[in-house]
């Protein structure tokens, strides 16, 4: 989890919103994803039933994770797959490196994997002389810029086409001044095709690992994961322990929810089911813990492990939309990042639970019904208990503490907050309790604090 230096979300957000038109543009692009999600979800009459099923299946998984992992391993091995276990990021990186070195791999093509980002696999491999190419277009763009992802589904959502044009001109010799996404995508296609044809191994992330069948499912729109995995004999799939689902039929529930929640598409273009190695090939699966099993023991917070990484919570979050993915200082940003990270390192990520209005929009869209807003509030309490709090947040917390001390009050306040977000976004984002959202048109004097406003309105 890197350095112990605390992430200062408010300061990072400050920097992000300094460029006003860019903040507006970012807000609009991310909101667009959310709107498409709403359209996609509305087309499925049983949408809410699917969410309940997904949540129920994931609850069952959390209670039986050890057995499902063992079952998965047994079935995968019967399929001829080699299964590896890694307690943390370092051991994950060591395992991948040793497989690659055994095969004398010089060029590895990788497809979108938040886990390998989390483990910082790329620098680890590069230091050992192995070239790593991220093959998802957005991932490739940020890799060429030497950046991390700013969104889990749309990693380059913060970058403008002019910047992509310049980057490709510099590094891929495309036409100077080109900004047409069609042209730029074609440039990337040719560049990546070359890499696919010359790679020695392929590594992908995993969306779902099915205990019953011992196989993994990988979802992409570009086809990049498949272009790698099927091109060469050696394919590696890296997964967190929480990616397990029990039965083949559960895939029906999750594949119906995933793409619709992410981008509003009814399904990703490719949903690839890898069961056995290809003829004469090797298939490896690396199962990674890296803090997850410990998180499983936190009653209040374990639900975060139900996440399927659709990105809907960040697309719905007024704070994420206006502060950008980098302000969270972690691979997974937004509301889900803010409830996962304090579990890894409370001191370092103590600010993140405060990067929220507690409006509840995240929980309302989450396809596995994670109680994200409640967890944000509970992490705030933890930060307070462990005495990590600085003064700015303390006031906000005591108000929240007052409001949240009774369930009834909380309910009413959440409703008010939701209302306020809808009708009074300026007030909500300008008031002095929200250090993260200090922004461009601060009212001269805040008319009333949230506490006053709440008192006046609590009837």
């Amino acid at each position: 989890m890197g350095s112990q230096k605390s992430i200062n979300h408010a300061a990072a957000a400050d920097k992000f919103i300094a460029n006003e038109s860019r903040t507006d543009w970012h807000n609009a692009s991310v909101s667009y994803l959310r709107k498409k999600r709403d359209v996609g979800a509305a087309l499925v009459p049983e949408w809410e039933t699917l969410r309940s099923l997904a949540s129920g299946i994931k609850n069952n998984v959390l209670g039986n994770l050890d057995q499902y992992l063992e079952q998965f391993e047994k079935n995968a091995q019967a399929n001829g797959v080699q299964v590896h276990w890694a307690v943390d990021a370092e051991s994950h990186n060591r395992i991948v490196t040793s497989i690659l070195e055994r095969h004398k791999v010089k060029l590895l093509v990788k497809s979108k994997s938040m886990l390998t980002e989390e483990c910082h696999l790329n620098p680890h491999l590069e230091a050992r002389g192995i070239e790593v190419v991220d093959t998802d277009l957005g991932e490739r763009i940020i890799q060429m810029r030497d950046e991390g992802p700013s969104h889990i589904v749309a990693p380059a959502i913060h970058i403008k086409k002019e910047e992509v044009g310049e980057l490709f001109h510099d590094q891929l010799q495309s036409e100077a001044g080109a900004t047409d996404p069609q042209y730029l995508t074609e440039v990337a296609r040719q560049h990546l095709r070359e890499k696919f044809l010359n790679c020695d191994a392929a590594l992908t992330g995993v969306n779902f690992a099915v205990a019953e069948t011992g196989g993994v499912v990988v979802c992409t729109n570009e086809g990049n994961a498949d272009m790698g995995a099927h091109m060469v004999p050696l394919q590696i799939h890296c997964m967190g322990i929480e990616k397990i689902i029990p039965r083949q039929q559960d895939l029906g529930v999750f594949l119906r929810l995933l793409a619709r929640s992410a981008t509003g598409q009814p399904i990703t273009i490719y949903s690839s089911h890898h069961q056995k190695p290809k003829e004469g090939g090797e298939m490896h699966i690396v199962i990674v813990d890296n803090g997850r099993s410990k998180h499983l023991g936190r009653d209040t917070f374990r639900n975060a492990l139900k996440c399927i990484r659709c990105g809907a919570c960040m697309n719905s979050c007024p704070v994420y939309r206006r502060s950008g993915g980098y302000s969270y200082g972690y691979t997974v940003p937004g509301p889900i990042g803010s409830i996962l990270t304090p579990g890894f390192n409370l001191e370092k990520y103590k600010e993140l639970p405060f990067a929220s209005t507690l409006c509840g929009a995240c929980s309302a869209v989450c396809p596995t019904k994670i109680n994200i807003d409640e967890q944000l509030y509970k992490w705030r309490q933890k930060v307070y208990e462990e005495d990590y709090l600085d003064k700015t947040k303390e006031t906000g917390l005591s108000v929240a503490g007052n409001v949240l001390s009774s369930a009834k009050k909380y309910k009413r306040a959440s409703a008010l907050m939701r209302w306020a977000l809808k009708w009074m976004p300026r007030f909500m984002t300008h008031n002095r309790f929200n250090a993260w959202a200090k922004k461009r048109e601060l009212p001269e004097v805040p008319g009333e604090s949230f506490r006053d406003w709440y008192r006046k309105n609590r009837k």
């Binding site: 667009y32 049983e46 039933t49 099923l53 129920g56 069952n60 209670g63 039986n64 994770l65 050890d66 992992l69 063992e70 590896h84 276990w85 307690v87 051991s91 060591r94 395992i95 093959t135 998802d136 277009l137 763009i141 970058i159 086409k161 996404p181 069609q182 995508t185 074609e186 990337a188 044809l197 069948t213 729109n221 570009e222 086809g223 990049n224 498949d226 272009m227 099927h230 091109m231 322990i241 083949q248 039929q249 559960d250 895939l251 029906g252 594949l255 598409q265 009814p266 399904i267 273009i269 490719y270 949903s271 690839s272 089911h273 069961q275 056995k276 099993s293 410990k294 499983l296 009653d299």
Partner: protein, 195 residues
């Protein structure tokens, strides 16, 4: 062995930390909102960027290919009605399939709710085929269309295959400013011949 110790310690840690088990929910059948799933499949597939062509006889495939791909280069076909023109050396590796302009294969299933077709190693070899080709044509029987993913999975047995994939259209990306671009890393077009 590092991995063996890790396995033990991860499983132990999970056993120590896991919550009480809850029942796994049964997945009910869902009625399709479509009055005609073949028609519905076509609509959704078209919205995904696929081209849907209706034929009455597999022999009409020739005409469809001629009409839709008049200047097509090397063809790799797994369908009887269309001959392959792509030359492969003996013992060809996946990488040797670079250069296929058009690949034609059988789809085993179609899914009305999302316009996807299912192809697997039961009917396709090598696995790289539907991805590496510039254009993809699949032949799908109307009777193989199911209303939703639940129904589709009832027909599939993952344990019997090496690899299988739902393909829901041509390869695409929206990674540059959310602009939809067709033809990212996989096939640039996706044609479904409905029989």
């Amino acid at each position: 062995m590092e991995s063996t110790d890790a396995r033990k310690s991860i499983l132990e840690s999970i056993r120590k930390h896991r919550p009480e088990s809850s029942d796994i929910p049964a997945i009910p059948d869902f009625e399709s909102p479509m009055s005609n799933i073949v028609f519905g499949f076509g609509e959704v597939a078209a919205a995904n960027g696929s081209k849907v062509v209706h034929i009455d006889d597999p022999d009409q495939l020739q005409e469809v290919i001629k009409a839709n791909f008049p200047d097509i280069g090397p063809v790799y076909s797994l369908v009887d009605q269309i001959p392959s023109t792509f030359q492969l050396r003996e013992g060809a590796a996946p990488v040797d399939h670079q250069g296929i302009d058009l690949a034609i294969l059988h789809a085993e299933l179609g899914v009305a709710e999302n316009g996807a077709v299912w192809v697997s190693t039961e009917s396709m070899n090598p696995r790289i085929l539907p991805f590496i080709c510039e254009h993809l044509v699949v032949l799908l029987e109307k009777s193989s269309i199911r209303s939703n993913m639940h129904e589709a999975y009832k027909e599939i047995n993952l344990k019997n295959i090496g690899f299988g994939v739902f393909i829901a259209g041509p390869s695409k990306t929206a990674d540059i400013e959310q602009s939809l671009v067709i033809g990212a890393q996989g096939a640039r077009s996706h044609t479904i011949c409905l029989l």
